[in-house]
Amino acid sequence: MDQNHSSEKRGITMKTNRYILLLLLTVALFQGCAFSRGTVGDTITPEAVAAIHQGSTTRTELLHLLGAPDRLFQLNGRDVLHYYRYDAKAGSLLLILLNFTRLSIKSDDLFVVLNKEGVVEDIISSTRTNGLKFRFWPFGE
């Protein structure tokens, strides 16, 4: 009975030691690691883009939906409203003697082309930041 109890106790201690070792190993692996992130502009939500309809949404509705554009320019007599958002993710592996850093920047862009009557004629949008990851390894693609 006593022998069973002591072997059970030894098992628990070994398990605890293993967890501590795993924790120490994890901490050791992540020391000298840095994660940084920077964003510019508001998120362009897919819901907001879906709410814009070609041929029916007006300039007023568009401004109510997305706010003032980041850029406004003319394209062959038509107004183009450009909304953008930049996302930057940097991962650094600081190994004291040898440091690796990788910074990836991508943007989400939305161009809305308005006709002369102020109604949406075309929508050009894409979300590139969805696949943006923290990367450390600077070599390769």
Partner: protein
Amino acid sequence: MCKRATFWIAMAVICLPFQGCNVVRISLNTTLTPQDVAFIVPGETTLTDVVTKLGAPDTLTESEAGILATYRFMNLKYSRVNFGWVAKPWTPVDPDLIFSRTGLAVDAFQVAFDLSWVVRHHAFQRKLSPSPFYPYPF
């Protein structure tokens, strides 16, 4: 014994240049290659096709015969070696002997559309091959 010492000296010599070494890479957008844009056929491909495959361009500008869409991408490679690290254990000061080099590869892909948003022509602005990580500045 002598062989082992030679081995360790050789290892130290090989490792020396990597001491105090920094390797940094900055990339803006995904680099487009000629293979990525091979689907574009002037006179046939429309803006919708281009946006579906490549995403929205970074800029849209007016040109004399239509609209110009530009996709920009950049790759910056920086490497730095501080040979001062070698002397650090033996000197009371913090010596620096730094070799560093930055290579910036900026490129853009331009697509010209007519007024009905059909591709007229397309081209890469510059074809810069990205510089390697190479800290020797001379």
